[in-house]
């Protein structure tokens, strides 16, 4: 390496370190409060799921009745955790890729507090019995303008950074993130104004709501997670993205197909008959953008199996991409309206829709967000993760837990759907064992996220390891002493080339 190269590499590293420092507080705030909300959400999820098989559980307290706990669980998961994780990842990635320091960290941080206030008030509103009863929009009506305005204040700086970026090619991650940044206000404003502000037929309002839920998953969480994965996989492995052509196919097919999906939830309802079937076909076609992106990621990652086994961020991202493949397959499987195999009908009023949502939000999106977190946090705090055991516990419990929740809910939902079709059987009795399994696996996930929250909080308090060695998931058997390299405090040895 020539000295000039060394010089530019150092300057480059200084620029990146500067960007990281400028975003330290907003990103850590979003991640930590998001992780705290995630723990709250999972706790509510455990309670809601327990009520599926033990309806009398906590039934003396109206605050914790199923009709309040379940919506609170979903809304906290979405607006408390998933959106805030997305904010952290978007503002950091857009700053890094536009090569601009963030000059509005204080404003973003303030807006982040307002967002959290909105989520808190909304959640208390749901638990107090003031929920709207419109799925994923259960926060009382006052909440949505608050959330929307704070969204714009948080995200607008990333647009500005993109606008003033140095000239050059726009990277795949930026396509996805920019699209998600525009699509969220589109679906959020559309759904909220049509349902809350304009008079309309209530059946159509249910249709709009179904479209909104699908849009949140496919038009916001999916592109954010894919954008993060397209950044992390080549960044950590150091290999180029497998195929630029596949990336383009994946992005444009998502942009074209995803807005049509959603209304299949209203199959058989008195809305124009083409809407549910177009929705079902579009949801099945989501396989194409999901599969192309997943193949692209996996081919990139699997070119470097050694890094995959060591790097926590890469492991989480790969697990998330695997979740995406399962999500894509179940998108096809759950939307078949054929005689003799009518899963569209079976999944309509059963817990399989919940399984699909959890698979999308946790099994795909959140795992990629965890991967991004494990990559971003050491950079912005300038400390390394404290313990690889906490990371591997988080990884294992999360993966096993979510696979269990999602697959059991999807399959159990189909069984429950068969029970609903045969009016003489008690369909809840059929769903009972699956509900048990969901409760147990949510408890596992809760445990894993308590580890995650603890770990993250330590990092925010700058109690991470002061070391130049990244915390890697290598087996401890390789080291003679368990307090070897990783355990050394202030070990400023030579800079390792590997992540």
């Amino acid at each position: 390496m020539s000295s000039q190269d060394t010089q530019s590499t150092t300057e480059d590293a200084q620029l990146r370190a500067g960007i990281d420092r400028s975003l330290r507080h907003p990103v850590m705030f979003f991640l930590c409060s998001g992780a705290a909300w995630l723990a709250v959400s999972i706790l509510l999820g455990v309670i809601a799921s327990a009520k599926m098989h033990h309806p009398e559980f906590l039934s003396s307290c109206p605050l914790l009745s199923y009709g309040r706990v379940f919506p609170a669980h979903m809304n906290v998961l979405i607006y408390g955790w998933a959106m805030q994780a997305a904010f952290a990842v978007i503002i950091w990635l857009m700053a890094r890729l536009s090569r601009k320091e963030c000059r509005s960290a204080g404003t973003i941080l303030t807006a982040g507090h307002i967002w959290n206030l909105g989520v808190t008030m909304g959640t208390l509103g749901i638990l107090g019995g003031y929920g709207t009863g419109i799925q994923w929009m259960e926060f009382p009506v006052f909440a949505w303008p608050v959330l929307l305005i704070s969204y714009f204040i948080i995200i607008i700086w990333s647009f500005i950074q993109f606008r003033v970026r140095p000239k050059g090619q726009v990277y795949v991650t930026q396509w996805y993130l920019l699209a998600a940044m525009v699509w969220f206000p589109w679906i959020y404003i559309t759904a909220n104004t049509l349902i809350h502000c304009l008079e309309g037929h209530p059946v159509m309002a249910a249709g709009i709501n179904a479209w909104f839920r699908s849009g949140m998953l496919l038009l916001f969480f999916t592109p954010v997670a894919l954008g993060a994965a397209y950044y992390l996989a080549p960044k950590v492995t150091g290999r180029p993205v497998f195929s630029y052509a596949l990336a383009k196919l994946g992005f444009w097919s998502l942009a074209i197909i995803a807005p049509w999906a959603g209304m299949q939830k209203l199959a058989g309802a008195p809305i124009p008959a083409f809407l549910p079937y177009v929705g079902a076909a579009a949801t099945a076609l989501i396989f194409i953008p999901a599969c192309t992106a997943a193949v692209n990621m996996l081919c990139t990652v699997l070119s470097d199996k050694d890094t995959l086994s060591k790097s926590p961020s890469l492991r989480f991202v790969t697990a998330g991409i695997t979740g995406l493949i399962i999500l894509a397959c179940s998108a096809v499987l759950l939307n078949l309206p054929f005689d003799g195999f009518n899963t569209l009908q079976l999944s309509q009023f059963s817990i399989s829709g919940y399984g699909f949502d959890v698979l999308g939000i946790y099994g795909f999106f959140s795992l990629v967000m965890f991967g991004a977190t494990y990559f971003i946090v050491p950079r912005i705090t300038r400390r390394e993760w404290v313990s690889k055991r906490l990371i591997s516990m988080h990884f294992l419990l999360s993966c096993y837990g979510v696979v269990f929740v999602a697959l059991v809910a999807i399959f159990g939902g189909l069984m429950q759907g068969l029970g609903i079709e045969d009016w003489k059987t008690n369909d809840l009795a059929r769903a009972n064992p699956y509900a048990w399994a969901v409760t147990i696996s949510w408890s596992l996930i809760l445990l894993s996220n308590v580890f995650f929250l603890l770990h993250l909080a330590l990092m925010w308090m700058r109690l991470g390891r002061r070391s130049t060695h990244p915390t890697l998931l290598v087996s401890s058997h390789d080291h003679a002493s368990p307090h070897g390299e990783e355990g050394d405090i202030d070990n400023a040895g030579e800079i390792e080339p590997a992540h």
């Binding site: 590293a13 370190a17 090619q169 990277y171 993205v241 079902a280 076909a281 130049t468 400023a492």
Partner: protein, 254 residues
């Protein structure tokens, strides 16, 4: 020690340590690799094949929807849910007669009466009020004749309205029974009785047998011929009836 000395050669700064500190600050950023999206692999055949299969399935889903834009065929009017397999078709759940007739009458009122007598039935300067009118809440035959034939000349209050009221044509017995029951038990009127479909049938027959058939009735004719209740046994308002046919029905089996 003093600042006048050359700072970069100051002896108490350990250059190696200082470099290490800088290295540590930049360590994470420095060990990063560059991202590169220039992978030039073509889209492999099997990806295309799998996506093609899914596209065919999606086409099948659309096809299974049948006539996607034939709204009337998918959701036919007056659709009644099929009975559960192995059970007798019990039809829609029976309702008390007064509720079923009021529900029916509300629809007829909004089409036939609302335009003149207004949504609150209080009328305005050009159309009389139905609230508390003796000819509405009084004898049912007189009320039926006014609806079926229209009215010329003064109303029960003695006031005349230009042109009078036109005859309401095309009312079925169910419509007539419904709208009479509705007006007599709504807008502040509360006779508490129902006009049954059977009574409405008789009213239509009486109306067609009038000497002046086809002309509006007048106050004199009403007083002379129709100041009485409609023939036929009065119906108990709580009788359970089929809400579609308005005929008496058995209570549903529990």
């Amino acid at each position: 020690m003093s600042s006048t000395q050359k700072p970069d050669l100051e002896e108490n700064i350990n250059v190696a340590q200082a470099h290490e500190r800088v290295d540590r600050e930049l360590a994470a950023a420095a060990r990063e690799k560059r991202v590169d999206d220039q992978g030039a692999e073509p889209i492999t055949l099997w990806v295309m094949a799998v996506c093609g299969i899914v596209a065919v399935i999606a086409g099948g889903i659309l096809g299974a929807g049948g006539k996607l834009f034939a709204y009337g065929e998918t959701f036919p009017e007056n659709y009644v849910r099929a009975s559960a397999p192995g059970t007798k078709d019990t039809g829609p759940l029976p309702k008390p007669a007064i509720d079923a007739l009021i529900a029916k009458g509300q629809k007829v009122y909004s089409v036939k009466c609302n335009g003149c007598h207004q949504g609150d039935a209080k009328g305005n300067n050009n159309f009389p009020s139905l609230v508390g009118s003796e000819w509405v809440v009084g004898d049912s035959e007189r009320f039926a004749m006014i609806i079926l034939n229209g009215l010329a000349g003064p109303t029960s209050t003695g006031k005349s309205y230009p042109g009078g009221m036109p005859a309401q044509l095309g009312l079925s017995p169910e419509d007539l029974a419904g709208v009479m029951t509705y007006v007599r038990n709504n807008f502040g009127n509360s006779t508490g009785d129902v006009v049954s479909v059977n009574m409405a049938k008789q009213a239509i027959e009486i109306s067609s047998n009038r000497a002046m058939a086809g002309k509006q009735v007048t106050g004199e004719e009403l007083a002379a011929n129709h100041a009485k209740n409609l023939p036929g046994d009065p119906m108990d308002p709580t009788t359970l009836v089929n809400p579609i046919t308005l005929e008496p029905a058995e209570a549903a089996a529990p």
